[in-house]
């Protein structure tokens, strides 16, 4: 049977639109709220990425840092993250969940134990920001053996030869970083140029689902509609921050944002 991730992409394709991927930080702003947010936005999102918060995230910009610091301050632990996923999956059985974070947390938790826990709580995929190819080869194949997608990242700096190798080693999904930036940067490359690079990746192997992320907001999402999937992260984290500031209901505000995002790519 095809993985839930693959199914989610097929589903979006059948509706002639890209898959919408959301990114929120586990435990932002606390355990209970982040589960509520996740459940609510999954009514519109096709795939949910859940960040495991680190206090020294070298590839994240201000918005995601703020969310991560907030979650850590409110006491989130790795085991809580797995219980959030487990709980989520009780009611949303077919909605794919991708965990995303930094390698030190997996390393401290123990790679094998981490994978076992992922399997138990039905995590569908993993993105490890600072474990690039080929350093991730062993870990990625361990994931694959356990039916967890290891999602490879490629960026504008990825060379042609390297791209070939990465795609060959990838699973169902590939994540294209739209520009030279941390998360939360302003889109500084034209959508046309991004799609041109995207097509180059796509042309290597049409069966792989390639998503684009970084710099995608309500303003920019429509222009990248051609992709298999689009990831929105910092804009969502920012909405949580603003809701807290204004003492408004973050669950409602974030869900509305995700709904609007979805409408823009329908």
């Amino acid at each position: 049977m095809a993985s839930l991730l693959k199914q989610a992409f097929q589903n979006a394709k059948s509706e002639n639109r890209p898959a919408l991927l959301t990114y929120t930080v586990a435990g932002d702003n606390n355990k209970k709220k982040s589960l509520e947010i996740l459940k609510s936005i999954s009514n519109y999102a096709d795939i949910c990425e859940l960040g495991f918060p680190h206090n020294t995230p070298i590839a994240d910009g201000g918005q995601i840092q703020t969310s991560a610091y907030r979650a850590i301050k409110n006491g989130i632990k790795i085991n809580d993250i797995f219980s959030i996923v487990k709980n989520f999956k009780k009611s949303k059985k077919t909605k794919p969940i991708i965990l995303m974070g930094y390698y030190n947390m997996i390393f401290q938790y123990n790679e094998n134990k981490f994978i076992t826990k992922c399997k138990e709580s039905k995590v569908d995929g993993l993105i490890v920001v600072d474990l690039p190819y080929p350093e991730n080869k062993i870990f990625a194949s361990k994931c694959k053996k356990n039916k967890i997608n290891y999602i490879q990242l490629v960026s504008p700096t990825t060379s042609k030869l390297r791209l070939k190798k990465i795609i060959k080693d990838s699973h169902d999904m590939i994540y294209y970083i739209s520009m030279l930036s941390t998360t939360g940067g302003k889109l500084k490359v034209s959508p046309k140029k991004i799609l041109k690079e995207y097509t180059k990746i796509k042309n290597q192997n049409k069966s792989k689902n390639v998503v684009i992320g970084f710099g995608i907001t309500e303003k920019t999402i429509k222009s990248l509609k051609k992709a298999d999937g689009l990831v929105v992260g910092s804009a969502i984290c920012k909405e949580i921050t603003n809701s807290i500031k204004k003492r408004q209901n973050a669950v409602i505000n974030v869900s509305n944002l995700v709904k609007r995002l979805k409408n823009k790519i329908k």
């Binding site: 020294t56 070298i58 600072d130 700096t157 930036s181």
Partner: protein
């Protein structure tokens, strides 16, 4: 785990960049793979390029002002009784600390790569000051990332950086110290690696940065070896090389030529920041037996909790106030070639007071940690033991802290 002889320690890593199979590596986001690879190739080429080496030596001599002096501290030796205490006065180097070696080499590499911009991190402000100096000299535009707490406590160096025309970016995240400055600098590089070169201020970070920094500071021990032979006719039989360890760049540079010697002849002692006597916080991952973790692209002993979150650190010395440490020092620790210990804030302050009282030398708070260890062990050692301390920084930058703590 074993050290090899006849090969510089910076080159004793495996194909994945690990020393001893587990320290170092290159845990970097995909975007940095290419710039790191380019830098790796460039450095590999340049270090064999006679013209480049000539250029380096020219600037080391005429710009940095090498060799720095090697002197006996007679008064301190007489006062303590026991081992002879000597100092390698690296703070005589242009700018006042060893950070000038790495800064100069990084600027030369940036030029060779055709980059117009250079960015760097700084804690004590010396790495930033030196990078701003060298950038100005070589015509590069320079940006320095510095924790807001450090900007406050190391003002003289901040003023110097501004004078050199560098832009200082204050970092307000986390503990607002060196660890946050390095993170923010790496984030900036991820976003600007197409036209910008990054300099890491110590022997930390992804593998290639450890190598370039260590290759640069190695100048210190090359000089010392010549100086030892000229003062003693041969390398003496009982030497102890004592150096403070933050990231570990000065210590590696001070030791690199002597690692192949038997440790009974030349003992290597690294002194980390123990933090305030009454505090649980410290910046001593090696001597307080921290677990291995990954920070800023490399695996090392690391102050962290069991979830892998980086711990806050605390030290009176901004330059040592860092939760990780160089992978090459982890390797030296595990192979037992070097011994690591720590000095508390109070011990470092006392050492600073004692050294400045007896000698015409003004070590900053970082090397004062090394002097604290020298003062501790010297009385117990024989008169033919030669203790050498790397006095790698000048205390001018610590003016405010010293005034507050000592009056």
């Amino acid at each position: 785990m074993k050290l090899k002889r006849g090969i510089p320690l910076i080159d004793q890593h495996d194909q994945h960049g690990f020393w001893g199979g587990k320290f170092g590596g290159s845990f970097i986001p995909e975007t940095l793979k290419k710039p790191v690879e380019d830098l790796t190739n460039e450095f590999k080429k340049l270090r064999k390029d006679k013209k480049f080496l000539k250029k380096r030596d020219f600037y080391f001599k005429n710009y940095i002002g090498t060799p720095t002096s090697f002197i006996k501290l007679d008064n301190l030796t007489n006062y303590l009784g026991g081992a002879q205490i000597w100092a390698k006065v690296v703070s005589e180097a242009n700018g006042g600390a060893h950070k000038i070696y790495g800064a100069t080499v990084h600027c030369l590499i940036a030029k060779s790569l055709g980059k117009k911009y250079i960015v760097g991190d700084t804690g004590a402000g010396y790495a930033g000051k030196m990078l701003s100096m060298a950038a100005k000299k070589f015509g590069l535009k320079c940006k320095i990332f510095m924790g807001a707490k450090d900007i406050k406590r190391q003002r003289p160096n901040v003023i110097a950086m501004k004078k050199n025309g560098a832009e200082i970016v204050p970092v307000y995240s986390g503990s607002q110290t060196l660890v946050d400055a390095v993170s923010e600098c790496m984030r900036y590089w991820v976003s600007n690696c197409d036209n910008t070169h990054m300099c890491v201020g110590s022997t930390v970070g992804p593998n290639i940065f450890v190598k370039i920094c260590g290759w640069s500071t190695a100048q210190i021990s090359k000089e010392l070896k010549v100086q030892l032979k000229s003062k003693f006719k041969k390398i003496p039989n009982k030497i102890k090389l004592i150096n403070c360890v933050g990231g570990g760049s000065s210590a590696y540079g001070f030791w690199s030529e002597f690692i192949d010697y038997d440790k009974k002849q030349i003992e290597l002692i690294g002194v980390e920041a123990g933090g305030p006597k009454k505090s649980k916080l410290h910046a001593a991952p090696l001597s307080k037996n921290a677990k291995i973790g990954i920070l800023h692209g490399a695996a090392s002993y690391l102050c962290q909790n069991n979830e892998g979150q980086i711990n806050d650190t605390e030290s009176i010395s901004a330059g040592l106030d860092y939760p990780g440490v160089s992978p090459i020092h982890c390797f030296l620790k595990d192979t037992k070639r070097a011994r690591y210990t720590y000095a508390t804030d109070e011990e470092a302050l006392d050492a600073h007071v004692m050294v400045t009282k007896y000698e015409n030398l003004n070590p900053s708070l970082e090397p004062s940690h090394a002097f604290a260890e020298a003062i501790k062990i010297a009385p117990k050692l024989s008169k033919d033991t030669i203790i050498i301390v790397n006095s790698c920084g000048d205390a001018k930058k610590d003016r405010d802290i010293l005034k507050e703590r000592l009056g």
